[in-house]
């Protein structure tokens, strides 16, 4: 009886051990899922011109470059207001990712269609993400 219990326990531990490996193996996918979520929120924000949709991913280490000349590192408060002003003047109509990668160094780029003083124009957008702990922040946002 005791021997059976021991065996039983060994098997349990074995499966637990295996399970933890599987879990570890699953983690990258969970991380990739997170980067996808970030891209989705950025997509939503760029389509609606709402910075609040993705402002939580902006940080002091986000590099911003816009066609209006703003270029460099700003604080998250400044980023919010600069982008807000930008979208007030260049009202987004539509944005689509042409390329979107969610691997080790997630990045994507696409075309943003917007309205400026009554005219429709387009701009190329580049976004890259960087992992910070378990989360992602926007490393670079370029709209040219």
């Amino acid at each position: 009886m005791k021997k059976n219990i021991k065996k039983y326990l060994y098997v349990c531990f074995y499966f637990i051990f295996l399970g933890s490996f599987l879990q570890a193996a699953n983690n990258p996918n969970q991380v990739y899922q997170k980067s996808n979520e970030v891209f989705d929120e950025i997509l939503s924000g760029l389509n609606s011109g709402s910075v609040s949709s993705f402002s939580k991913y902006l940080s002091n280490q986000t590099f911003l470059s816009l066609s209006t000349g703003e270029s460099g590192y700003f604080s998250s408060s400044q980023l919010y207001n600069i982008l807000d002003n930008f979208f007030n003047v260049h009202r987004p109509i539509n944005f689509k990712f042409a390329i979107r990668r969610s691997d080790n160094n997630p990045y994507g780029f696409g075309t943003l269609t917007y309205e400026n003083k009554g005219r429709k124009e387009t701009a190329q957008v580049y976004i890259s993400l960087r992992q910070q702990g378990d989360n992602y922040i926007i490393a670079q946002l370029t709209i040219k």
Binding site: N60, S75, S77, Q78, Y126, G133
Partner: protein
């Protein structure tokens, strides 16, 4: 009845409600008519559009004609001058140069050719490629455009004849600059941009006479005609868009409505002014004011007033932006507006607290309440300091403005505005903290026992509370030493303000100086933190660009260029300088903003290279051979990095240029990422993305470590293996980063290390910064304090101008004259020293630059000679190229006046560098025979020192030049930085001198002022006054003698008064005796007669009795009258009755006792209190009461004036030691006094004076905390 009610309601200020109604109506009407106007526009758009087009066309043509006219006028004037000057038979060459280079013509490019078409004169502004000018094809006397890929010029050509010789003049004005090196787009000269901004229209201009007009219905075109009415250009503009027009209209309507709302709001507030004044509760008033301020600020913010009416850089969140409080500080301008409101609220609250200290005292009755309130107030002070600290941290971190790195003595406007914001905010914060300090002072007033033990206990408590406050927080935002410093400053201002309650100027100066000090130390503290954080950003920036980004960037660059009509036009024109075209294309692309190297090149349709511009990309990558081998080339980007150089990443992209289905050529864009080349310091290649915009590159070190291989990217800090081991063995966080402090080569460094994993290997990026020295911290302090000093000076000047009447008389006073002399004798030598030092440094700096450039040129000369000697077969161009490669020094060579060789070959081939030598240099060499020359010049707006020297090589004249723009020249002091330090130090020193001189002048003039005010009091009848004498020497003797004189005067006056009284009484007694004696004698005789008549039983006794008794009664009546007369005479004093304002008398008393340690405040509901009395007597009453209060150790008197229908009630309340209970009833008795000195008739006289005008004075109450007298006086009729 309703009409009357309304009339009654809308009296006084309420009449302004009518304006509010009118404005509201206007807003509604505008709202009503706006859609109708829009409908009208939509329905009649074609006509409106045509009118607009005609207007735009006429305006643009007018603008162009004006510029053309100016050019022609300047040119004809120049020709006249040239002719005039040369008629005086002076050497032509010299005259040509001097006239052409006159400052008047600095806006033009001028070329002068002789009859053989040789260039003989030019000015320093020359930018036209003179080789492209074909004299034979010019239409003299007319204007034309000349266009190249870099610029468009409007030029005018003409001939002139001087001394029988013919000359050709070309003068040109820059019309369109297609690139700029400046950060500011506004510096770029562009007629197109000017027109677009002025007329809000999108415009393209063809600067040639064959450009056709547009047939596109969405556009309209018109010609630009020259002075001979010939077409020289075509303007094509987009037809006005109805949507854009409606948007503009709506925006204008929005602005008007916003303005009307504000004016309406203003009148609404004004209409409630009288009602506001009638409120009795000060607390209610202050709450309403705060509500008003809050609402007004909210209104300004929600209506977006700043964006509507102010569109400039100060509204740009790039400079500063915080999301605090929903965005009321989202730009420097919004921050300023919020600051103004905060400052106003702080001032009002402070004034309220000072005025209502009695109310506060009444509230703080119990000890437990006092201690609780004091503790809570102190805690709020600590929170307030933390709040100020948090705000200044936001100013540093949420801003791209670098307070301490700006090189200018006077900063640019956005930075200046932020400096003002920081100062104003700190002042407001300190004022609010002073309110709390006032509460604490009132709470602890009774407890202060002036013993050292008490103060030690208080200080210990404060320090302990502060320490706990810091240590118990996760993020305290301020260090303990800084907190203590701020508390000390706060205590000091509070003390100064208490000492000088009546001086607003001292309050302003002490607050501003303290706030400046606090804000600078906090700015500096957070800037150090920012510098530390910037090391992390630098590491991120070094590693930011990767393959995906390069691909994106090249794709975007090529897409952007291929759609440009301009690029197609390059292939359409003959003789296009494709190097210039490549430069302009590169300058206008996204590549220019990046720190890494890049290039643009043009290929023809056969894929031959026709032109290129490169910033640091090797020639073999400009047009990679890989593209030549490909068959069909569509837009693509490839990684062409070489395996041998793994750290250098090279990407290149290509796209065809197609016009009407035909391939005209190709554009190739290349990026070369080499970390070592990210830190270029050449200002002309300065990008917006600096590696680190907080710390100078010279103070930084950057290294990359991989597999123990160390690569130095910037700086000259070379760590040893031990250093590297220590760095790599540090404890990295979960985010793979670490901060360490380490000593390398006996210098302390702060190091940030970032770890990255790539394919099972770790790579480290380490960024070093040297620890800051004290001099640097002092430099930063003085840099900002200079700006604050200027602000303080302006505030003081404004205050003095506003109160000029008050200060005009004071300026003539002894104190201010003494102060002026002290300042003059101290400041003048300092200023002289400052000017001397400045001149010295400037001269030394120029000498150092000259010496350095000269040495470099010596080196070049020797190398060139060596090259020619060793390789006589080599051409000079080749030899110069070799020297350039070997020495890595940038230099130019001119053969006669033309540029022959330049180290900056790409700029030369793109014609960005001018092809002709500086005319002043040329003139000095060839007219004056100089061997060297140097001058400050400007290259694309960048000032630089250029040094020229003449050499003779193979019997030909060559002029070598070298400048400090493309070559690093070491100077021990940057003149700009020295200016900042000098002005900062001296302005700080001047403030210290002013403060100490004021203290000294005040101290030395105090006895004189005391004498003056005492003399005034004596003149007004107060002889009880004595001056406290602490002075020694002559002044001490003067004061003693003055006091003695006053006492003698008082005694003499008493004696004289006594003698006069005695004499008066004697005289009166004599008079009385005489008057009474007069009727007594006949009365005695009559009674004697009556007695005789009675004894004689005379027959006429009855008749006699009647007569005699009647006479006796008359005499008695007479005597009674005499007695009454004398009695009235004794009662009635001499007094001069007049109607006057009692408040004026009280004001005189306030001024009279200003120098004494007593504060007198008056509170009266009315602006004037008119009574009918003797002015001198009433004055003496108040002097007496004040003197009594001082003698009862009071330091504050509050005089309150209230009224009913017929009388004024004046209460005089002091905070002295009060009157003893057992003497209260005697105080109005004559000759009663509790003092050692005095006659004891002051209050008696006061009572007498007031009763003479049917008023009265009574003791209202008295206790150990003060005494109140109540005076009742009838109102004047």
């Amino acid at each position: 009845m309703i009409k009357n009610k309304l009339k009654h309601f809308f009296i006084g200020d309420r009449k302004y409600f009518s304006f509010v109604v009118i404005l509201l109506t206007a807003i509604l009407l505008i709202g009503f008519f706006t859609p109708r106007v829009i409908d009208y526009k939509e329905n009649n758009w074609s006509e409106i559009s045509l009118t607009k087009q005609v207007k735009i066309e006429n305006e643009i043509i007018r603008l162009f004609q004006q510029k053309q006219k100016d050019l022609i006028n300047s040119s004809t004037e120049l020709i006249s001058k040239l002719k005039l000057k040369n008629e005086k038979n002076v050497e032509e060459g010299k005259i040509f140069f001097s006239v052409i280079n006159d400052k008047e013509y600095s806006g033009l490019s001028i070329l002068l050719f002789d009859s053989t078409h040789n260039l003989i004169g030019w000015n320093q502004n020359e930018k036209i490629e003179f080789e492209t000018i074909d004299i034979d094809t010019l239409n003299f006397g007319s204007t034309e455009f000349i266009e190249n890929p870099l610029n468009v010029f409007l030029f005018y050509s003409d001939t002139l004849s001087i001394g029988g010789k013919k000359y050709f003049l070309v003068s040109a004005k820059l019309f369109e600059q297609k690139y700029t090196f400046s950060d500011k787009k506004s510096d770029q000269i562009s007629f197109t941009k000017l027109v677009e901004e002025q007329f809000s229209v999108s415009v393209k201009i063809g600067y040639n006479h064959f450009k056709p007009k547009s047939l596109d219905g969405r556009e309209f075109s018109f010609s630009l005609l020259n002075n001979l009415k010939k077409q020289i250009g075509v303007v094509t503009a987009l037809s006005p868009s109805i949507n854009a027009d409606i948007n503009t209209f709506r925006s204008t309507v929005n602005k008007i409505q916003t303005l009307l709302i504000f004016i309406g709001f203003f009148f609404f507030i004004v209409s409630l002014k009288s009602d506001f004044k009638k409120l009795s509760s000060d607390l209610l008033k202050i709450l309403l004011i705060f509500l008003l301020l809050f609402f007004t600020r909210w209104l300004l913010f929600s209506l977006n007033v700043t964006s509507l009416f102010v569109g400039s850089s100060i509204n740009n969140p790039n400079y500063f932006s915080s999301t605090f409080a929903g965005g009321i500080v989202k730009s420097p301008l919004e921050f300023l507006i919020t600051n103004i409101f905060l400052f106003t609220a702080a001032i009002i609250l402070f004034h309220f607290c000072r005025k209502n200290q009695n109310a506060i005292n009444d509230f703080l009755k119990f000890t437990i309440v006092k201690i609780s309130v004091a503790s809570v107030s102190f805690f709020i002070i600590l929170l307030g300091i933390r709040g100020i600290s948090a705000s200044i941290k936001s100013v540093i971190f949420d801003s791209t403005l670098r307070f301490f790195r700006d090189q200018n003595l006077f900063p640019q406007f956005p930075l200046l505005l932020m400096n003002i914001n920081v100062l104003l905010f700190t002042i407001s914060g300190l004022i609010l903290l002073l309110c709390l300090a006032l509460i604490i002072q009132n709470a602890l007033k009774d407890k202060i026992n002036f013993r050292i033990r008490f103060y030690l206990f208080l200080v210990a408590t404060i320090l302990l509370m502060s320490y706990l406050f810091i240590t118990l927080q996760k993020e305290p935002l301020i260090s303990f030493p800084l907190l203590v410093i701020v508390l000390i400053i706060l205590g000091t201002i509070h003390f100064i303000i208490n000492l000088n309650k009546n001086s607003l100027l001292i309050l302003i100066v002490s607050l501003t100086v303290s706030s400046s000090f606090v804000s600078i130390i906090l700015l500096n503290h957070f800037n150090l933190e920012l510098e530390k954080q910037s090391l992390k950003r630098t590491a991120i920036e070094i590693n930011r660009p990767d393959e995906s980004y390069f691909t994106f960037l090249l794709n975007e660059t090529l897409l952007h260029t291929v759609n440009s009509e301009l690029i197609s036009s390059y292939y359409a024109q003959d003789k296009t300088n494709f190097n210039s075209a490549a430069f302009v294309t590169w300058k206008n692309s996204s590549l220019v903003n990046e720190a890494f190297n890049s290039s643009i090149s043009f290929l023809d349709k056969n894929r031959n290279l026709v032109g290129s511009f490169s910033k640091g990309v090797d020639e073999r990558f400009i047009a990679p051979k890989i593209f030549f081998a490909m068959k069909n080339l569509e837009l693509q980007v490839l990684d062409i990095s070489e395996e041998t150089e793994s750290e250098k990443i090279i990407f290149s992209g290509i796209t065809p240029i197609i016009s009407r289905g035909n391939i005209l050529g190709y554009i190739v864009a290349t990026i070369k990422y080499d970390p070592n080349l990210l830190t270029t310091t050449n200002p002309i290649y300065r990008t917006t993305n600096e590696i680190n915009d907080v710390i100078r590159l010279s103070d930084l070190g950057i290294i990359k470590i991989s597999d123990r291989y160390v690569r130095v990217i910037a700086g000259d800090f070379i760590p040893t293996e031990d250093d590297i081991s220590k760095m790599l063995e540090s404890n990295f966080t979960a985010e793979n980063e670490v901060w360490i402090e380490h000593n390398i080569n006996h210098e302390n460094f702060i190091i940030y290390i970032q770890k990255e994993k790539l394919n099972d290997s770790f790579y480290y990026t380490a960024v070093f910064q040297k620890e800051r020295e004290v001099e640097w911290i002092l430099f930063n302090f003085f840099k900002i304090s200079f700006i604050h000093s200027i602000i303080l000076l302006l505030i003081c000047l404004t205050y003095l101008l506003y109160n000029w009447k008050e200060y005009y008389n004071i300026v003539n006073s002894f104190r201010y004259q003494l102060l002026f002399i002290l300042l003059l004798t101290s400041i003048l030598p300092i200023l002289a020293l400052a000017i001397f030092n400045r001149i010295n440094v400037e001269e030394n700096t120029n000498e150092m630059i000259y010496y350095s450039l000269s040495e470099k040129l010596n080196l070049i000369e020797s190398h060139v000679k060596q090259q020619l000697q060793d390789h006589p077969e080599r051409e000079l161009q080749t030899a110069l190229s070799k020297v350039d490669e070997e020495l890595n020094i940038s230099f130019n060579v001119y053969r006669n006046q033309v540029l022959y060789f330049s180290s900056e070959n790409y700029l030369k081939s793109a014609n960005v560098i001018g092809s002709i030598i500086n005319p002043a240099a040329y003139s000095s060499f060839f007219s004056k025979g100089a061997l060297s020359f140097y001058e400050q010049e400007f290259f694309e707006g960048f000032p630089n020192i250029v040094y020229y020297r003449k050499f003779i090589i193979d019997d030909e004249n060559y002029i070598f030049s070298i400048n400090d723009l493309f070559n690093e020249v070491y100077v021990s002091y940057n003149p700009n930085e020295f200016d900042i330090f000098l002005f900062g130090v001296y302005s700080f020193a001047i403030i210290i001198i002013i403060i100490f001189s004021s203290i000294i002048a005040n101290r030395f003039s105090k006895p004189i002022r005391q004498l003056t005010s005492t003399t005034q009091a004596i003149a007004l009848g107060d002889l009880n006054i004595q001056i406290e004498n602490r002075s020694k020497g002559e002044l001490g003797d003067l004061i003693n003698n003055f006091n003695k004189m006053t006492n003698d005067l008082k005694r003499t006056q008493k004696e004289i008064a006594q003698l006069e009284r005695e004499s008066a009484w004697k005289e009166m007694a004599k008079q009385v005796a005489h008057e009474i004696k007069n009727p007594l004698t006949p009365m005695k005789l009559m009674i004697q007669q009556l007695v005789i008549s009675y004894k004689d039983k005379s027959k006429n006794f009855d008749e006699s009795f009647g007569k005699i008794t009647s006479t006796l009664l008359n005499q008695i009546e007479t005597m009674n009258q005499i007695a009454s007369e004398f009695s009235r005479f004794a009662r009635m004093p001499n007094y001069n009755s007049e109607i006057f304002d009692l408040l004026q008398i009280i004001n005189e008393i306030e001024i009279l006792f200003k120098q004494e340690k007593i504060e007198i405040t008056t509170e009266a509901k009315s602006n004037a209190v008119f009574i009918n009395a003797d002015r001198d007597q009433i004055r003496r009453v108040f002097i007496n009461l004040t003197r009594n209060s001082i003698q009862a150790n009071a330091n504050k008197i509050v005089i309150e004036v209230s009224e009913d229908e017929n009388k004024f009630f004046i209460s005089v309340k002091d905070n002295g030691s009060g009157i003893d209970e057992n003497v209260k009833e005697k105080i109005f008795n004559e000759n009663f006094t509790t003092k050692n000195k005095g006659m004891g008739i002051g209050l008696k006289l006061a009572a007498k004076y007031l009763s003479a005008i049917e008023g009265k004075i009574e003791l209202f109450n008295s206790s150990s905390t003060g005494t109140t007298f109540l005076l009742t006086i009838n109102k004047s009729k």
